[in-house]
Amino acid sequence: MLIPVILGISLIIFSIVSLSPGNPGRLSLGVNASEEAVEQLNRKLGYYDPFIVKYKNYLVNAIQGDFGQSYRTGESVFSMIAVRLPTTMKLAMFAITIAAVFGIPIGILSAVKQYSFIDAASMVAALLLASIPGFWLGLILILTFSLKLGIFPVTGSDTPLHYVLPSITIAAPSLAVIIRVTRSTMLEVIRQDYVRTARSKGSGELKIILKHCLRNAMIPVVTIIGMDFGYLLGGTIIAETLFGMPGVGELMVKAIRMKDLPVIMASVILLAAIFCILNLVIDIIYSFIDPRIKASYKT
């Protein structure tokens, strides 16, 4: 299923970006170039080919790792992205880790102690985190921790310290979602019969929560983490721009401003493909969390 989906994505993105006005010759040579030079480059790039042929050529080249050249610098788009991808992936991974490491325990705690002060406080926190736009949180973090207190650097990506504020910025909305989903699934699971059975046979409370409840509550949580990764990529784009980190998102935003279509197309397709692969990985993780899913495939 993965390959047709990625093909479909590439077709959608290719069609949308192709709607863009202007021809590649003019866009890469600039307004001062002569008509002939523009014409020549357009022919060379296959601008006059029918849409299907253009898409086929793009796809065939893309599979071989050739996403064309940047209109601006003439650099290979693939290597431009490859250089920047690690920064983006690191940011996304740090962010999802922060969101999961804090979100899951907070969610469990507020479910176990439903209606307590902790529960109320974490629900308010989740609601606030979901309503604060990531970039504003980023601005406030910069304002307090970089400009006023001077603990973290403002821009760049040279040291691990550079990643702290952007990761928190990106993690915030996902943290909110994970807290809420963990809490609500835990609340459902806690009422199940097997939990009562575990209690009546005298298992320790901690063991019940971690072994019987958490494992059963993890499926929706893991699904949400996977789905949220898409939003997380969005957050990464914003955070990279805000914190001046050289990642794919920042590249993409710059490329749009400069109408550098090959760069935009390739970045969007590659990030969307990564998102799909990640969700496939999550499907596989399911069967480890819940053996019932694996069993249902076998029969």
Binding site: I9, I12, S20, S131, L143, M252, V253, A255, I256
Partner: protein, 288 residues
């Protein structure tokens, strides 16, 4: 007659439960106020005088009795700009969700109603769109059509529609197989009666909830895109664009970023509270 009475009591029940939920009421009131302020923005402040006109003599002033939220880098009153910004943000939120609902709803309802091959085709296409993270889809559209309010709305609609198509289809499919629909058909009710009396009242709940939360998410998305320079362009007073301008000066004039941010948070929080409250009110079983 009886039917009429029943459908009224359904909504009366929802309203009664919603009213008991203090947070939801607060959210609703805040959003209503924001909506009114946005509609009557031109009565409250003078667009040319306060929102657009630049005055370097009073740039970056702290909040005062004259300029409640201070002034920005060009000496424009931030309070006035936030009022007008609300008009833009709420307009984008409402329009996007309305268009996405209608577009996505049509696709989803057609797919769900006719089923078979058409359903398969439409849903595979929808799945492809859903596989692309919404912000990336919006960015691809902006790359093609450029920035500006209308283009931003188009971009957000394209990324919002597939989700609603799925939601509508799922709703239509569940309802189609409900027994009361079958019963209604069995006693000879016409399609129009079934749709207006059974399908719409039952389908509308979850959709209202999704739409309310959707407006909140759209406002954040629009502000984020404007913030990185892909949405509303200065000098238009959109909240995200204001933050983008203000961030250059925030070290010494933090009010340039604090107030527009609070405006976004208030609006989004109000919509989230209202959406959550509506969800609980429409389906009392969900509340533990």
């Amino acid at each position: 007659m009886d039917n009429n009475k029943e459908s009224r009591t359904l909504w009366q029940g929802v309203w009664k439960r919603l009213r008991k939920n203090k947070l939801a009421v607060i959210g609703m009131v805040i959003f209503m106020v924001m909506l009114l302020v946005a509609v009557f923005a031109d009565v409250i402040v003078d667009y040319e005088q306060d929102v657009i006109r630049q005055d370097s003599k009073i740039r970056l002033q702290e909040p005062s009795s004259e300029h409640w939220f201070g002034t920005d880098n060009y000496g424009r009153d931030i309070f006035a700009r936030i009022i007008y910004g609300g008009r833009i943000s709420i307009f984008i939120g409402l329009t996007t969700i309305a268009v996405s609902l209608i577009g996505g709803g049509l696709v989803g309802a057609i797919a769900g109603y006719y089923g078979g091959r058409l359903d398969n085709l439409l849903m595979r296409i929808t799945d492809m769109f859903l596989a692309i993270p919404p912000i990336l889809l919006a960015i691809a559209v902006i790359a093609a059509v450029g920035s500006g309010i209308m283009n931003l709305i188009i971009a957000l609609c394209v990324s919002g529609m597939p989700g609603y198509a799925r939601l509508f289809r799922a709703t239509v499919l569940t309802l189609r197989s409900e027994e009361y629909i079958e019963a209604s058909k069995a006693v000879g009710a016409k399609d129009r009666w079934i749709i207006s009396r059974h399908i719409v009242p039952n389908a509308i709940g979850p959709i209202i909830v999704q739409a309310t939360l959707g407006i909140a998410n759209t406002i954040i998305a629009a502000a984020s895109l404007s913030f990185v320079g892909l949405g509303i362009q200065p000098p238009d007073p959109e909240w995200g664009a204001m933050l983008s301008e203000g961030k250059e000066f925030m070290r010494y004039s933090p009010h340039t970023v604090i107030f527009p941010g609070i405006a976004i948070i208030m609006t989004v929080l109000a919509l989230n509270l209202l959406g959550d409250g509506l969800r609980d009110a429409l389906d009392p079983r969900l509340k533990n």
